[in-house]
């Protein structure tokens, strides 16, 4: 079973319109066959079936405007259990009940409203269709919105005051990507402590933890390539290249510049590449090729005193490694307690692609390489 989602066509697009269903409910569809035409303000797009099967349920009728990322249909595959499919559809219907779905106004029929009034209406959550305009030709002006706000005040007082922050730009893209990944891939997160003593020594020579981790992961992926793959329909596609993305926090949100062919690079080369990519990310100078093509991602929250977390897999990949802070912790060594610098790894993986044992063994390899960075030179 696969869902069909209303895709984003424009960077700042909040909603899109279902223009025309090319296939009806109940029709058999082939993978990649166009099933619906959708549009944003400026662009039209054919949305194709993600899998072959039966177009089991259509949630959005033609001419409906819906939020981007919303499920608009479900395709049932022949192997699906009908009970599970129908339960899913019922749940999806319930979740759709809370979504604002509207018939779009044609551009020519748009409400005459001044830009300031529109902004105020958005800020106060006023439906402009309910406002009578007092400007020329019935145009809604600032005063009309403020008057409506005043009229609504008694009710508004009972509600908490809200500051509306529009979800735009990179924040919106992140929101869409993490939601789609989290919904599509059953995540399992394993955690494991590692001794950072040797990595600390290497750090003193100018090699960063991130570089050591990227190299350790690249080597471990060579032994466990299943975690360097993606699931497309009913096929697991294993990447032959090992391109490690490193999630970096920037002012606008999060970006993951990519160290390409990490398995072929030396630790020193990776160290230089990482420094360069992080600098470019913070200066907003990354090129498209430097942020695309990742096959595995590392997310490091150690600098924010985080120990353990549950990272979300980057769409199109099968696993992500979260890195916590390096902190002194007691460890039992030969029946004695020793204080050692310790880091916790949090590995989230797509359970459709790999099982827990394989992921755990991969994590053991990462730990082994991290604790013994001399192995990374081979």
């Amino acid at each position: 079973m696969q869902t069909v989602i209303l895709p984003r066509l424009d960077e700042d697009q909040k909603s899109g319109m279902i223009l025309e269903w090319l296939k009806g409910e109940g029709a058999e569809v082939e993978k990649d066959e166009p099933i619906v035409i959708v549009m944003s303000e400026k662009i039209m797009m054919d949305v194709s079936a993600p899998v072959s099967g039966k177009l089991y349920k259509i949630f959005a009728q033609e001419n409906m405007e819906m939020p981007v990322g919303q499920v608009i249909a479900v395709i049932a595959e022949p192997s699906d259990d009908p009970n599970i499919v129908s339960r899913f559809v019922e749940e999806a219907k319930r979740s759709l009940a809370g979504i604002e779905v509207k018939k779009p106004q044609k551009p020519e029929e748009k409400m005459p409203i001044s830009p300031l009034a529109r902004k105020l209406a958005e800020q106060y959550g006023i439906d402009v269709a309910m406002v009578k305009g007092s400007g020329p030709g019935g145009r809604i002006v600032k005063e009309d919105i403020l008057k409506t706000v005043e009229e609504l005040k008694p009710e508004a007082k009972a509600q908490p005051r809200i500051l509306t922050i529009p979800l735009t730009g990179i924040r919106k893209i992140i929101a869409e990507r993490v939601s789609s990944s989290h919904l599509a891939a059953p995540h399992v997160t394993l955690t494991m402590d590692a001794d950072a003593s040797e990595a600390n020594k290497l750090k003193e020579t100018g090699i960063s933890y991130n570089a050591i981790l990227i190299k350790a992961v690249a080597k471990a992926l060579q032994s466990y390539p299943i975690l360097n793959s993606t699931l497309e329909g009913d096929q697991i596609k294993q990447f032959e290249d090992v391109n490690i993305g490193l999630a970096v926090a920037i002012k606008e949100g999060l970006i993951a510049p990519v160290v390409h062919d990490a398995e072929k690079k030396t630790l020193g080369e990776i160290n230089i590449a990482v420094e360069d990519l992080i600098r470019k990310a913070r200066e907003n100078k990354l090129s498209v090729s430097e942020v695309t093509g990742g096959t595995f991602t590392i997310s490091n929250l150690g600098m924010f005193e985080v120990d353990v977390f549950t990272p979300i897999i980057t769409p199109g990949q099968s696993a992500i490694l979260g890195i916590g802070r390096v902190v002194d912790k007691p460890q039992v060594v030969s029946a004695r307690i020793e204080i050692k610098p310790t880091v916790t790894f949090s590995l989230s993986f797509d359970h459709r692609i790999a099982d827990g044992a394989v992921a755990a063994q991969f994590l053991q390899f990462v730990k082994k390489f991290f604790e013994n960075p001399q192995l990374l030179s081979s």
Partner: protein, 229 residues
């Protein structure tokens, strides 16, 4: 027929029957309305009738445009797997609008791409862009007003009646002739310099022609599609 060819080539590129394609084309006096646009509201039908102007509906969105031989349309059909093809589809406007603007720079025509989807000269619109994405192909096409009769344009499109301060054509602004062939070459040069796109001259393939004829017969020659709203 031109709009039918546009859809036919997009389908052929999508079906891997045609290579990535750049197409230049012109229409005889006509109004091309957007896919979902109301003809009644966008076009003065009486003026069209009086001047013998054809009305046709395209399959991409956006507003109505008046076209005559002074308007050069350019279309870029690209596989989505191509490295230039953007992740966020609306970036096609920036990519190709920017490249067309760069091309015109070679003619010392200093235009600029104005997001989201227009090219301006002296602060006025000379080109509007629209796009359509299929599973494996994307089309970005645009107009380019070189010597279009702007008086007719404003007569035919009521929404543009008082907007000649906002729309212009190259020859009116430059006060000189701008040869079409030079514009074509410079746009290709802009694409090559911006994205390393190399082109070779070609004509429509048999498959593309067949698809276009079928689309024309079934869709674009009839009033059911053209006057659907």
């Amino acid at each position: 027929m031109n709009i039918a060819v546009e859809e036919a080539v997009l389908r052929a590129v999508n079906e891997k029957l045609s290579p990535n394609t750049i197409r230049f084309w012109r229409n005889v006096n006509s109004v091309v309305v957007g896919r979902n646009q109301s003809i009644k509201k966008a076009v003065d039908l009486n003026v069209c009738k009086k001047l013998g102007i054809t009305i046709v509906r395209r399959f991409t969105g956006g507003g109505a445009v008046y076209q005559d031989h002074g308007n050069l349309n350019w279309s870029i059909f690209l596989r989505r797997s191509n490295s230039i093809s953007p992740i966020i589809i609306s970036d096609v406007f920036k990519i190709f609008g920017g490249a067309v603007a760069k091309g015109l720079d070679f003619l010392e025509i200093n235009v600029n791409f104005q997001p989201p989807n227009m090219i301006q000269f002296n602060g006025k619109k000379i080109s509007g862009l629209a796009a359509y994405a299929k599973h494996d192909a994307i089309l970005c096409h645009g107009t380019l007003l070189i010597s279009t009769n702007l008086d007719t344009l404003s007569e035919v499109l009521p929404l543009h009646k008082d907007s000649l301060t906002k729309v212009t054509c190259l020859e009116r602004e430059l006060k000189r002739q701008v040869p079409l062939s030079l514009v074509r070459t410079s746009i290709l040069q802009g694409l090559e310099e911006s994205y390393g796109i190399k082109t070779k001259l070609g004509t429509l393939s048999e498959t593309e022609m067949e698809k276009a004829k079928a689309l024309y017969d079934e869709k674009y020659s009839g009033s059911e599609w053209n006057f659907k709203c």
